[in-house]
Amino acid sequence: MGKYVLRRIAYMAPTMFAISVVSFVIIQLPPGDYLTQLASGLRERGEPADQAYLDALSARYGLDEPMPVQYLQWMKGILFHGDFGMSFEWNQPVSALLADTLPFTIALTLGTLLFTWIVAFPIGIYSAVRQYSLGDYVATTVGFIGLAIPNFLLALVLVYLSRMLFGGSFVGVFSSEYAHAPWSVGRFLDLLSHLWIPVIVLGTAGTAGLIRILRANLLDELRRPYVVAGRARGMGERRLLIRYPLRIALNPFVSTIGWVLPMLVSGEVVVGTVLALPTTGPLLLGALRSQDMYLAGSIILIVSVLTVIGTLLSDLVLAWLDPRVRHQYR
C-alpha cells in the first residue's frame, strides 16, 4: 500500500507540470497582453498612452522576456514565494485575491459534495432494491429533471422562490448586517441560510447522476452469485445488502470526487455570478473578460491542481476500500 501511494504521487508530477504549462499558455494565448489592453483603454478615453510608462510596466513584469523565461519566473514565484503575480485589473497580488475567495470556494465545493452523497446514497439504494416501485419511478423522474435543468435557471428559480416564501434577499453570502461583522454564531447561521441555495443548485445535477450510477451498479451486484450464496447460508436481507452488494456499489461514490469536482468548479462560475457569491468563479470570469491573464491563469492552475489532488485522494480511498484494487496494482 505504501508503495502504491508513493507511485501514485510520483505519477502526479508530470500531470502537474502539464497543467502548469497549459495554464501558462492560456495566459499567453490572447493576442497582446495587459499592456496593449491598457493602452487601448487609455486611447479610447482620449489620453495618449505614455510609451515610457508602458515600457516601464513591461520591464517590471518581465513581459519582454522570451516565453520559457517568463514561465520559469512565474513558476519560481509560485513555488518559492507563493507569489502568483500581480492582477493588473485589481492592482493587487493574485495571492491576496485568492486568499479572499478560495477558502469559501473550497467550503462550498465540499459542502456540495457532502450534500450530493447524503442525498444520493439512500435514494440510490432504495431505487435499486425496490426496482420499478413507485418510489423508484419518482426518484428516476426527479433525477432526470435535476440533470436536465441548467444550473443558472435553477439558481434564479430558487432565489425567486426563497424571496417569495421567506422574504429577504438570499443573494450573496451574508446579510448586510453581518457582512463586515466579526465571526459569531449568528453570522455562521446567516452564512448557512445563504449557502443552501448554491449547494442545491450546484449539487442537483451531480446528485441525479450519482443516483443513476448507484442504482445501476447495485442492480448489477444484486444479481451476482455471491448474493444468492449469502442468502443460501442464512443471512438476513438487510445485513446481506449492507455487507455484500452495497460494499462494492460504494466504489462509484468514492470515484465521484474525480468527476464531480471539475463539474462543480465549472458550474460554480455561472452560479457564483448569478448568486453574486465571493467565489473564484466570478473572479475568473472577470479576469478572462479584462484579459487579466495572471489572475485567470492562476485560478485555472489552482483549480486543476486541486482536482488532481482530489482524484488522487479518491483513488487512494478506493484502494483502501476495495481489496481487488489494492492487490492488483501493487
Binding site: 455471491y226 455487507r243 501493487r330
Partner: protein, 761 residues
C-alpha cells in the same frame, strides 16, 4: 394404478411433492419447474441430470426459497425432516424472508454453487466469510469462530489454512474457492448438501479431487447430497439415485446402476449416447439429441420431449402428457412407452425403442436413422474423399508427407511488471519450449489443465501473440515453408486466412453490435485479395451459414438472437469462411451442454472431411479429445510431456501426468466407480513464473525419485515409434496398475500449495 403415490419414504430427509415454480413475466407464465416429485434419503447422493434450461437449478433453489421475483413457488410441498424424532416442516409454505427458513438455510441445508469464485464476495477474505457463516447459526465468539473456521478449512483439504484464512477469493484458484464454498456450506453440519453443478467450471483433475472430497465428507457426516449436473460421467462416479429432469419435470428416476445399465426414458438414453465415451468408437458420429431444449414458455403440447424423441408415437405423445409409470421398486419413468395400453398394442414392435425389460446390453436406438443435425446440402469436392472415420493415427506415418505446420522450440514469455518503476521483474514462461508437427488432414489434440499454456501456444500459432523465441514453419504446398514466427504486420496477412481460430466462449467472442454478415464476412475483407463488400460477400456468407447448419437468412440478425450452440456454429463459420488449411479450436466445445457438444463435434468432423481441414484441438476434456483426435500432445507447465497416437496414449500412457489426467476423467459407468489405478494429483499446477527446478511435474508426481527428477529437465524422447515422453523414469514405471506398483500414499512434496491432506488424516 400406474401413478405412483409419492408418500415420503422412510429415511427421506427431503421429500418434494408436485413442486411447481413459475415465473410471472410480461410475456406470460414461464413454468420453470412444473410438477417435480423427489426424495433424498440420509446418507445418500441423489443426482439430478438434464441439459441446461431443464429447471434443475430452479428446483434446487426452490427448496431453500431462493427464487427471485418475478418467480415464485406456485404450489407443491417441500417436506423437510432432518430429524426422525421431530415433525417435518413444509419449506414451501415458509416466508422466503422469514426467520424460520433462514435458520434452515446454512444450518440444516448447505448449498454449493457452480462458479466458486463468483459465489464469494471479492471484498472480504474467505476467512471472514466463513466466520460470518459460522456465527450466523452458532453463539461462538469471534475467536472461537475463527478456530472453527480454520478447522473447517483443514477439513476441506485447504493447505496452510491459517494463511489462506486471510486470502481474498480472487487470490485463490477455482478449486480452492470451491473448497471454501464447501467449508461454508458444511460449517454448521447440515443434514443435506445441495450442490448445483459444483464442478462444471473446474478442470478435470480439480473436479476429481472435489468429488473425492465430497464423498469423504459424506462418509464422515452421513449427510444427504443433492447433486445437480449435466455430466453423466460425474453421475456414474457419485450417484446413488438418479433423477433425470426435462423441462421442469422428472422424466425418469432410478438407482444409478439401472440408469446406466438400462435407461428407460428415451431422453435418458439420448443423454447417455451423446457422451463421447473413452471406450467409444473414435471418430464415429456422436448420437446428438436433435434440436434444443425449448424455452419453458413454449413447452410443446403432450410429452414435452416428443419433438426431440426418436420413439415418439404420433397422435399420442404430441397430445397427451405421459403418466409416471412404475417400472420396479424405486423406478419410475414418465413415458407413454410404458403405458399398459401402448405395451399391449405394440407400436414398440417396430423396434423404435424398447421398454426396460427388453433392453439389451447395447443401448437401443443407435440403429435408428436420424437427421444429421448439421447436415450439409451438396458435397464440397475435395482431394481427400475419405470419411473422418477412416483417418487413422497411422496415416501420418507416411514418410513423404510433409507436416503442414512445424513448431520448433517455441517459447512465449510474459513479463511481469513490478515495483515503483514498473520494470519487468520476472517472466511468466507460459510456453517454455514446445515442438510439434501437425500433418495435413489430421486432428492433433493438445490437452492439459488450465494454466498449462495450451491456449497461449494456440494463440502464438495464429500469431495473435508474438512468440518470444522459436519458429513456426507453415507449408501448404502452394508456397515454400514460411516461418510465421518471423513475419510482422502486413507480411502475415496472407496467412491470416489460412490459419484460423475458433474460440471457447460463444458469448464473448461475437461482437453484439454486428450482424452475422458483418461478423462472418469480416475475415474476408482483411485478406490481401479481399472481397469487396458489395460483390459476392453475402453469397459466400450464405453458403458458409448453410455449411454450418444455419439458415442463410440469419445473416441479417445479431448474435443475441442465438443460443450458445448456434453461436458456436457462427464462430465456426467465421473461422472457415477464408477456406483455411489449419484451424485451431481452443476449447471450442467446453462451454457447451453435452447434447449441443455432440452436435458441434459432429459438425466439426463433417467439415473436416468436406473442406480438407487440419485441426489443432485444444481441450481439457479428455473424452472429447479421444473422440476427435488422431494424435494427442499432453502439456504441463508450458512443455509437452507426452505425445502419441490417440489410441496408444489412452491405452498405455507413459507419463505419470497423462495417467493422472486419464484417471481423473469420470467414466460413465457406475460399476467402474472408484476402480483401481486411480491417480490423484497432489496440489495444483505450479506457478509458471517460478517453475520448479528439474522436471516441472516433480512437485506433484507420485513417482518422484531423488535422482534426476529434481535437478534435470527431462526432454521429450521418442521411445517407440511415435510415442514421445518427457520423463526420466518412463521405462521403469508401470502406469497401468499404479495402485499395485506403488502404494497410494501421497508423497509429501516440497511445495505445500494445494496439498490434499486426506492422506495425512
Amino acid at each position: 394404478m400406474s401413478e405412483e403415490p409419492m408418500s415420503s419414504a422412510a429415511g427421506a430427509v427431503l421429500a418434494i411433492e408436485d413442486l411447481r415454480t413459475h415465473f410471472h413475466t410480461r410475456d406470460g407464465v414461464v413454468k420453470a419447474v412444473d410438477g417435480v416429485d423427489l426424495e433424498v434419503s440420509a446418507g445418500t447422493t441423489l443426482c439430478v441430470v438434464g441439459e441446461s434450461g431443464c429447471g434443475k437449478s430452479m428446483m434446487a433453489r426452490s427448496v431453500l426459497g431462493l427464487i427471485e421475483p418475478p418467480g415464485r413457488v406456485q404450489s407443491g410441498a417441500i417436506w423437510w425432516q432432518p430429524d426422525r424424532g421431530r415433525e417435518g416442516t413444509n419449506l414451501a409454505t415458509l416466508d422466503p424472508h422469514g426467520e424460520r427458513l433462514r435458520r434452515v438455510r446454512g444450518a440444516e441445508i448447505g448449498m454449493v454453487f457452480q462458479e466458486p469464485i463468483a459465489a464469494l464476495s471479492p471484498m472480504y477474505t474467505v476467512g471472514a466469510q466463513l466466520v460470518e457463516a459460522i456465527r450466523l447459526h452458532t453463539d461462538l465468539s469471534m475467536g472461537e469462530a475463527k478456530d472453527r473456521a480454520i478447522a473447517e478449512l483443514t477439513r476441506v483439504g485447504i493447505p496452510r489454512p491459517e494463511k489462506r484464512f486471510d486470502a481474498y477469493p480472487f487470490q485463490l484458484s477455482g478449486g480452492m474457492c470451491q473448497r471454501v464454498m464447501i467449508a461454508i456450506a458444511l460449517c454448521c453440519d447440515p443434514a443435506l448438501l445441495i450442490a448445483d453443478e459444483p464442478t462444471t467450471a473446474l478442470d478435470v483433475t480439480t473436479q476429481a479431487r472435489i468429488l473425492d472430497l465430497l464423498g469423504e465428507l459424506q462418509e464422515q457426516t452421513g449427510m444427504a447430497v443433492m447433486f445437480i449436473t449435466h455430466d453423466m460421467g460425474v453421475v456414474a462416479e457419485i450417484a446413488d439415485e438418479v433423477a433425470v429432469m426435462y423441462l421442469g419435470r422428472i422424466v425418469e428416476r432410478a438407482c444409478v446402476d439401472d440408469i446406466f445399465a438400462s435407461p428407460a426414458h428415451p431422453y435418458t438414453q439420448a443423454l447417455l449416447e451423446s457422451i463421447p465415451s473413452i471406450d467409444g468408437h473414435r471418430k464415429s458420429r456422436l448420437a446428438a439429441i436433435e434440436g434444443l431444449v425449448p424455452h419453458p414458455s413454449d413447452r410443446p403440447a403432450g410429452c414435452p420431449f416428443h419433438p426431440r424423441c426418436r420413439a415418439a408415437l404420433p397422435g399420442l405423445c404430441d397430445v397427451e402428457m405421459p403418466d409416471r409409470h412404475q417400472l420396479g421398486p424405486d423406478r419410475l419413468a414418465a413415458c407413454h412407452l410404458y403405458a399398459p395400453s401402448v405395451r399391449e398394442n405394440g407400436p414398440l414392435a417396430t423396434g423404435r425403442a424398447e421398454p426396460v425389460e427388453a433392453v439389451s446390453p447395447t443401448r437401443p436406438g443407435s440403429a435408428v436413422p436420424r437427421k444429421k443435425p448439421g447436415s450439409v446440402p451438396g458435397q464440397a469436392p475435395g482431394p481427400r474423399e475419405t470419411t473422418t472415420a477412416d483417418v487413422d493415427s497411422d496415416v501420418r506415418a507416411d514418410a513423404d508427407v510433409e507436416p503442414l505446420l512445424t513448431v520448433r522450440d517455441v517459447r512465449v514469455h510474459f513479463p511481469v511488471k513490478h515495483g515503483l518503476l514498473r520494470r519487468a521483474a520476472w517472466e511468466v514462461k507460459a510456453v517454455a519450449g514446445v515442438s510439434l508437427e501437425i500433418m495435413p488432414g489430421e486432428t492433433l489434440g493438445l490437452v492439459g489443465e488450465s494454466g498449462c499454456g495450451k491456449s497461449t501456444l494456440g494463440r502464438a500459432i495464429v500469431r495473435a501473440l508474438e512468440p518470444t523465441e522459436g519458429a513456426i514453419w507453415y507449408r501448404d504446398g502452394e508456397t515454400g515453408p514460411v516461418d510465421l514466427a518471423r513475419l510482422r504486420g502486413r507480411e502475415l496477412q496472407p496467412y491470416r486466412g489460412k490459419v484460423r481460430m475458433i474460440f471457447q466462449d460463444p458469448f464473448g467472442s461475437l461482437n453484439p453490435r454486428k450482424t452475422l454478415l458483418q461478423i462472418i464476412g469480416e475475415p474476408l475483407r482483411r485478406l490481401p485479395d479481399g472481397v469487396r463488400p458489395d460483390s459476392s460477400l453475402p453469397d459466400r456468407v450464405a453458403e458458409m451459414l448453410r455449411a454450418v447448419g444455419l439458415r442463410p437468412e440469419y445473416m441479417w440478425r445479431y448474435p443475441h438472437a442465438f443460443s450458445g450452440g448456434e453461436r458456436q456454429r457462427i464462430n465456426i463459420a467465421r473461422a472457415l469462411i477464408t477456406q483455411p488449411r489449419l484451424v485451431i479450436a481452443d476449447e471450442a466445445v467446453s462451454a457447451l451442454d453435452v447434447s449441443i457438444r455432440a452436435q458441434i463435434l459432429n459438425l466439426l468432423g463433417d467439415l473436416q472431411a468436406e473442406m480438407d481441414l487440419t485441426y489443432l484441438f485444444i481441450s481439457h476434456d479428455l473424452s472429447v479429445v479421444q473422440h476427435v483426435c488422431d494424435r494427442v500432445a499432453v502439456m504441463h507447465l508450458g512443455s509437452i510431456v507426452e505425445q502419441a497416437g490417440t489410441d496408444r496414449l489412452f491405452a498405455e500412457p507413459r507419463h505419470p501426468y497423462t495417467a493422472a489426467l486419464l484417471s481423473a476423467v469420470p467414466v460413465p459407468d457406475p460399476r467402474r466407480r472408484g476402480g483401481d489405478g486411480r491417480i490423484r494429483l497432489d496440489g495444483e499446477l505450479p506457478d509458471s513464473s517460478d517453475p520448479p527446478a528439474g522436471c516441472g511435474f516433480h512437485v506433484r508426481c507420485p513417482y518422484r525419485r531423488e535422482e534426476r527428477c529434481m535437478s534435470e529437465v527431462p526432454s521429450l524422447v521418442s521411445a517407440s515409434g511415435d510415442h514421445g515422453v518427457a520423463c526420466h523414469h518412463a521405462d521403469e514405471l508401470d502406469l497401468q496398475r499404479p495402485s499395485s506398483a506403488e502404494p497410494r500414499a501421497r508423497v509429501s512434496t516440497g511445495r505445500d500449495d494445494g496439498l490434499v491432506p486426506s492422506a495425512e488424516r
